[in-house]
């Protein structure tokens, strides 16, 4: 009765992997935008901004991504709002990514020496000018490797969205297994595809780290 070829399995998984890639990109880009806003709130001078951003970051870092997905998917449903799985998945992943990126970037901004703030202040620059011309260009160099490194976490995080019924690579793996009864082959392929997505990212993070360090020393 088993008339699925290996190619059938792989082909279906690869088709589903497109959604994993798309969801990863959406989460990462959306998370970056929200993350920048959070970053500015977090390191700003006011009282409300930093308090809000800090609470936000602590909440999202202190709860499992799976719970956040459940809350986005089922929570809104309680209020009679029908949330499709893809929307819940994207929103939860964007908010989750933003929390982590904001915290990574805060560390990078704070790693810029205090003297840089003082020197630019004493030259008459305002806060935004200091940020734009002095602080962020230096923080950016520090930020690139950990940011690329974190994108690996985002790719792997998308696997959890299978639980709320979004059909990406992991969910497709389950579905194909149910049809073929070959879990080892199927999940082996699933793992391999994840690895092919993540490994280049990890590797490029390492290469960037080395490159930017060298660039920093010799320009």
């Amino acid at each position: 009765m088993n008339d699925f070829t290996t190619w059938d399995i792989l082909r279906n998984l690869l088709l589903a992997a497109r959604w994993t890639v798309l969801l990863s990109i959406v989460s990462f880009v959306g998370g970056s935008l929200v993350g920048v806003a959070l970053l500015f709130a977090r390191i700003g001078k006011g009282r409300l901004g930093p308090a809000f951003a800090k609470t936000y970051i602590e909440l999202f870092q202190g709860t499992p991504l799976l719970m956040q997905l459940f809350l986005a998917f089922f929570g809104l449903g309680l209020f009679g709002i029908d949330v499709p799985a893809w929307l819940a998945a994207a929103v939860a992943l964007i908010l989750w990514t933003a929390a982590f990126l904001a915290e990574i970037w805060r560390g990078c901004v704070e790693s810029v020496a205090k003297g840089q703030w003082e020197a630019s202040s004493s030259l008459g620059m305002g806060y935004l000018q200091q940020m734009r011309w002095v602080i962020l260009p230096q923080a950016l160099r520090v930020a690139v490797p950990p940011t690329v490194g974190f994108s690996v976490q985002v790719v792997k995080g998308t696997a959890l969205t299978s639980i709320i019924g979004f059909v990406e690579l992991s969910k497709a793996g389950t579905m194909v297994t149910n049809a073929t009864f070959e879990p080892f082959t199927v999940y082996g392929f699933v793992a391999l595809i994840y690895f092919c997505l993540c490994w280049p990212l990890s590797k490029s993070s390492q290469i960037l780290e080395r490159k930017l360090n060298v660039a920093h020393r010799n320009h």
């Binding site: 003297g115 003082e118 630019s120 030259l123 008459g124 305002g126 000018q129 002095v134 230096q138």
Partner: protein
């Protein structure tokens, strides 16, 4: 009217009162050395004049304008008063020339070509015209500090604050920086410098301020302060034993 008027300035960090009522008036063209033990409040005083620290009491005015802690007033003040730091604080991601150009373009909105001409001129003035395209980490400490001076000068301040600007330098590099400062002094720039270079203070400065425990303990022309210290604290600081 004095150029810089410091009146009854007090500053505390928590329970620690660092400045306990400072009064100094600086005339245009004066070169003032502030000396004293570490912890006597001399760097804090300098940082207060530039608004890097807020004062708790008293007043500071520069060329008639009061120092107020909002961004608009601070910016106006900082356009008049430049500051040079012990650690140079050049922007490491920009070349020497760009370091000097940046604040002109960003703060004063000077067109790029004009800022570049000014930067070249100022780097020439500190003897580093040929280092326009060098990055800070390709320069020696003394050269970096001279770029920092050029950067401050490019904003055309009426006074410069120098916070131990030779303390982080190797001994053989101290003189090249002091030579630039001496040159500025002879051109009539108003200078307030915290320094440990006693010989320089004696040779170049018009007045010496000795600070002790947050107060101006002695003040006067260098011949007087160095040759004839009145208080036991200054005598001890100068290593004079009578």
């Amino acid at each position: 009217m004095s150029l810089i008027e410091i009146t009854e300035v007090k500053k505390r960090f928590g329970d620690n009162e660092v400045l306990k009522g400072i009064n100094i008036d600086v005339e245009p063209g004066e070169v003032i050395a502030i000396i004293g033990k570490s912890g006597s409040g001399k760097s804090t005083l300098l940082r207060c004049i530039n608004g890097l620290e807020t004062i708790d009491d008293g007043s500071i005015s520069v060329a008639g304008a009061q120092l107020l802690p909002d961004e608009l007033h601070l910016k106006a003040l900082r356009l008049k008063v430049g500051m040079i730091f012990q650690g140079f604080n050049l922007f490491p991601h920009l070349t020497a020339g760009r370091n000097v150009m940046l604040s002109q373009m960003v703060v004063k909105k000077t067109p790029k070509a004009e800022a570049e001409v000014m930067a070249k001129k100022m780097l020439e003035r500190v003897g580093l015209g040929h280092k326009f395209d060098a990055y800070p980490d390709q320069l020696s400490g003394g050269q970096q500090q001279r770029v920092a001076i050029a950067r401050a000068l490019a904003m055309q301040p009426i006074a410069l604050l120098c916070d131990e600007i030779t303390s982080a330098l190797d001994p053989e590099l101290v003189n090249e920086v002091l030579a630039v400062v001496k040159e500025l002094a002879s051109e009539g720039m108003t200078l307030l410098m915290v320094t440990h270079e006693m010989r320089f203070a004696r040779d170049v400065c018009s007045r010496v301020v000795f600070m002790h425990q947050g107060r101006v303990h002695e003040i006067g022309p260098p011949e007087e302060v160095f040759a004839n210290p009145k208080t036991p604290e200054l005598k001890q600081f100068l290593g004079v034993t009578h």
